[in-house]
């Protein structure tokens, strides 16, 4: 790929048409992604999209970059393998809330903890859409779904709160209908050095109802101008809100990323023995 090529948002579209329902919040996320990629001029051949399983995890198929639609819950491990083995690539993991917090919850914790340098976009619709409407860990308590006939008996979690607690160094929230902000946050997330987590409230009109867009819009709020994103306690104040969906960069700090630490280890190892031949390796077994 030559550097003179300029990419437009449309250049990132594949021929595949999304399988999503008309009115799905994920369309907004996808369009914002095309625009963010174009604005950053991400080279398609040097970019890898990785997803799990779910409605939103179909997304890599619609983006003209390298892509893997992996197993349910396993996007982050595979993205980790890509990024650690080829640190020069842009890696973006995407998926839903059930994929990332229920079945993939353990990976979410450890990927954030390692602060590996890639972006994770979670499209959060508070429901299992692909399997047609069962409760997710993000579904509010008491909500009736296909799997909770009498109301959801469980307490829900806030993905941003988890991400901050697990050690993610960049955490933001937005509403998929708020395209301009989503584009801006995606760009910031991709440019962040370390693990960046973007929680996008992406309504499911089919299983959460047509009113979802209106309801989220009514709750939409923005961080105050004096919000300090390096202050963890302050960031956590905007999580677990039931009456509001506060958008913006909640948390943003810099610490060494896994790929940087692995390079430190690489240099230490080279000091002990710089590129030993196979014969030299074998000779330690005499």
């Amino acid at each position: 790929m030559t550097e003179t090529t300029t990419y437009k948002a449309n250049d990132y579209k594949t021929e595949l048409k999304p399988v999503w329902c008309p009115g799905c919040g994920d369309f907004g996320v996808l369009n914002a992604l095309y625009r963010a990629m174009a604005e950053l001029q991400l080279v398609p051949a040097d970019t890898v999209m990785v997803s799990g399983i779910g409605c939103s995890s179909r997304l890599p198929g619609y983006v003209e970059t390298y892509g893997i639609n992996t197993l349910h819950g396993r996007a982050l491990p595979m993205a980790t393998g890509v990024k650690v083995s080829r640190p020069e690539l842009n890696v973006i993991a995407v998926g839903g809330d059930g994929d990332g917090i229920a079945i993939g919850g353990n990976h979410f914790m450890h990927t954030a903890r390692r602060n590996i340098d890639f972006t994770y976009v979670m499209m959060d619709n508070e429901i299992y859409g692909l399997t047609k409407g069962q409760a997710a860990p993000t579904t509010p308590t008491g909500d009736k779904t296909k799997s909770t006939t009498y109301g959801n008996p469980e307490h829900s979690v806030d993905p941003c709160e988890l991400a901050i607690s697990f050690g993610a160094t960049w955490v933001a929230r937005a509403f998929s209908g708020d395209i301009k902000l989503v584009v801006d946050l995606m760009k910031k997330a991709i440019q962040h050095k370390g693990f960046s987590f973007l929680n996008i409230i992406s309504p499911c009109v089919t299983w959460r109802g047509d009113d979802q867009f209106k309801e989220v819009r009514a709750k939409l709020a923005y961080l105050p101008a004096d919000h300090d994103p390096t202050d963890r306690a302050m960031a956590l104040r905007y999580t677990r809100e039931t009456d509001k969906v506060t958008s913006g960069v909640l948390y943003d700090v810099i610490t060494s990323s896994l790929d940087e630490e692995l390079e430190v280890i690489h240099q230490k190892a080279l000091k002990v023995k710089d590129h030993p031949t196979f014969k030299e390796i074998v000779s330690t077994f005499y």
Binding site: M1, T14, L16, P44, A45, D46, T47, V48, M49, V50, I53, P60, G61, V63, E64, T65, Y66, G67, I68, N69, T70, L71, G73, R74, L76, P77, M78, A79, T80, G81, V82, V84, S85, R86, L89, N106, H107, M109, H110, L258, L262, I265, H266, K268, A269, L270, V272, K273, D274, H275, P276, F278, K279, I281, V282, F285, Y286
Partner: protein
């Protein structure tokens, strides 16, 4: 004099028997002897009873040996824990710590020489501490049985150099004190002791030094030889050494190693790295293989080269984590949902562990298929000698797509071999999106049944290519045999020895040991079955998995197929397998279970 020295060392925590075994095997290797060493531990995290068995010989060593010629016992309580695993020979010479008298329940064979030795007292006198009693015992063994003392002294100097010249000197003094023990006084009740010792003296002349490594060592260095540049793993007995060795060495050759949160993640990262174009592997054991089987399906349908090195231990569940059992076969060859081609290899000794990992990378990269290696704990964690010259193997790398293939690039293009051009990030014209969904030639999801049939056929066709190209089989014995032993993995050692012994008796016995288990080398197997009057299948698991697996594609003749199988936990001995073979060969005695 003997050309086959077998030794067992048994002690409690802190007695240093494993160090002793290690030093002795290493000393033997330095003198060009063949050596094999197997350790066994109690369940304690630290301390607790342990044993180390060492076999030294100028001739090839096939197994750890059935009956032990010489023993050193520091703790009879420790010995009682290993009673079912350690069998002294009828004429064994047993040295035990004098302050720990022989317990009444010990079955003293009539031909045995049992000698109390005040190891602790001698150690204290020579070096100031009873802790060097293991070094005293090493000196004694060298002095009595013509074991390689010079390299042993050199290894003591190396081992204790960091602790200062006094420590080196006191350990060398312990060696000397051991060599000077006066047995006329200690064993006055055994008048022919000198003759007995003479009979067990190792007869050898020093030769070229040999390498000494475990199956896990050989796998780790084999991975580096093959060009592996990414390893992700989760600690699990008995394969953790691979994670540790590669963690130390891979960064020195620009590779990357990560320890993940679980085995799902470990193999996920491996498949991700391989998608990115980097040769990658993981290592694990049974419980981890169960978790990795999830990702195996994705690697198979998305056709991503990837390696799982699985060391088999007693199962199911946590089972017996420290002991050998060949019971992960079904999981490896059949495990997973859907129709899922994969290749399975199984080393038969330490040297094979090197060849199998390189071959696994070759098959995986050439055919874009996940490969599982099933090693026996018995091979993975024992150390044995090998010649450096044997560590040579052809290396195959993944082929980049040609310019022509990149025009209208189809990641899963139909080809006669089933192998399609595989691109990698960075190649502008090779961009594709893959997935675990059934897909068309471009990789786009496709739920049509005809496409599913076509793609299944394409993926399974690769097995034919592997089967016709890779003939990784060992066969011993005459072309026509009365009994043919059909076995795999660590059972190779006893089988090879049985074939040799039978030939010496004038009996026609052969053995067939495949290193490639799936796709199975069927024509070689058919030929072998046809060449033997009787077939004896030997395997170390309860449910006869190997036999049942062979039955799924091979015609094992009813009435002349016998199965000898046993749960793991204790290595199957050459003598017990030979006894089964003889029952078939000389049917006057009870025949082995006929399972056809």
């Amino acid at each position: 004099m003997t050309r086959d020295f077998t030794l067992s060392l048994v002690g409690a925590g802190g007695d240093g028997v494993v160090t002793m075994g290690d030093m002795l095997a290493r000393a033997g290797a330095r003198e060009g002897l063949n050596a094999m060493k197997t350790d066994a531990y109690g369940p304690q995290i630290r301390g607790g009873e342990s044993s180390s068995a060492v076999r030294l010989s100028p001739d090839p060593i096939y197994s750890q040996g059935d009956a032990i010629g010489v023993m050193v016992i520091f703790s009879w309580a420790g010995f009682s824990r290993f009673k079912s695993e350690i069998t002294p020979s009828a004429d064994a010479i047993i040295f035990h710590e004098a302050t720990d008298p022989v317990p009444p329940e010990f079955k003293r064979g009539e031909g045995m020489a049992i000698i109390p030795v005040p190891f602790i007292e001698i150690a204290k006198a020579a070096s100031g501490t009873g802790a060097s009693k293991n070094i005293v015992a090493l000196g004694m063994l060298c002095g009595l049985f013509h074991l390689p003392e010079a390299p042993l002294r050199a290894s003591i100097e190396r081992r204790f150099k960091k602790k200062g010249p006094e420590v080196v000197a006191s350990n060398l003094a312990a060696i000397d004190a051991g060599a000077k023990i006066d047995f006329a006084a200690l064993a006055s009740d055994i008048p022919d002791l000198n003759a007995r010792i003479e009979a067990k003296k190792l007869d050898y002349t020093p030769g070229k030094p040999k390498l000494l490594m475990s199956g896990n060592d050989a796998t780790a260095i084999g991975a580096m030889y093959a060009g592996c540049k990414f390893f992700a793993g989760y600690p699990i007995t008995p394969s953790t050494e691979v994670l540790q060795i590669l963690g130390e060495w891979l960064p020195r050759v620009d590779g990357r190693v990560i320890q993940t949160e679980d085995e799902l993640s470990a193999f996920g990262a491996v498949v991700g790295a391989s998608f990115a174009g980097v040769k990658s592997m993981t290592s694990t054991s049974g419980p981890g293989l169960s978790l990795m089987t999830e990702m195996l399906g994705l690697a198979s349908i998305a056709e991503i080269p990837s390696i799982i090195y699985n060391v088999m231990r007693g199962g199911p569940s946590t089972g017996i984590p420290t002991k050998s059992e060949q019971s992960d076969l079904f999981q490896a060859v059949f495990g997973g949902h859907g129709d899922m081609p994969r290749a399975v290899l199984a080393p038969a000794d330490v040297e094979d562990s090197f060849h199998c990992i390189v071959e696994a990378f070759n098959i995986s990269e050439e055919f874009q298929i996940p490969v599982i290696i099933l090693n026996d704990q018995l091979i993975a964690q024992r150390i044995e000698t090998l010649d450096e010259a044997s560590l040579v193997h052809e290396i195959k790398d993944r082929k980049a797509p040609t310019e022509e293939e990149l025009e209208d690039y189809k990641r899963y293009r139909e080809t006669p071999s089933g192998v399609s051009p595989m691109s990698a990030p960075g190649i502008a014209k090779g961009i594709y999106q893959t997935n675990g969904l059934e897909h068309d030639e471009y990789g786009s999801p496709n739920a049509g049944y005809l496409m599913h049939e076509q793609m299944n056929a394409k993926r399974f066709r690769k097995l034919w290519g592997i089967q016709s190209k890779y003939h990784f089989v060992r066969r011993y014995g005459p072309e026509k045999a009365s009994v043919g032993i059909l076995t795999w993995g660590s059972m190779k050692g006893p089988a090879e020895e049985i074939v040799k012994r039978a030939a010496a008796r004038g009996q026609a016995v052969s053995a067939f040991i495949p290193q490639i288990i799936m796709p199975f080398p069927k024509s070689e197997l058919d030929q072998f079955i046809a060449s033997c009057d009787q077939i004896l299948i030997v395997e170390q698991n309860y449910s006869a998995q190997f036999y049942k697996y062979l039955r799924s594609f091979a015609d094992l003749p009813a009435g002349r197929t016998h199965v000898y199988k046993k749960s793991g936990g204790r290595p199957m001995t050459m003598v017990e397998i030979e006894a089964e073979m003889l029952k078939i060969l000389e049917p006057a005695s009870e025949p082995a279970e006929v399972m056809a």
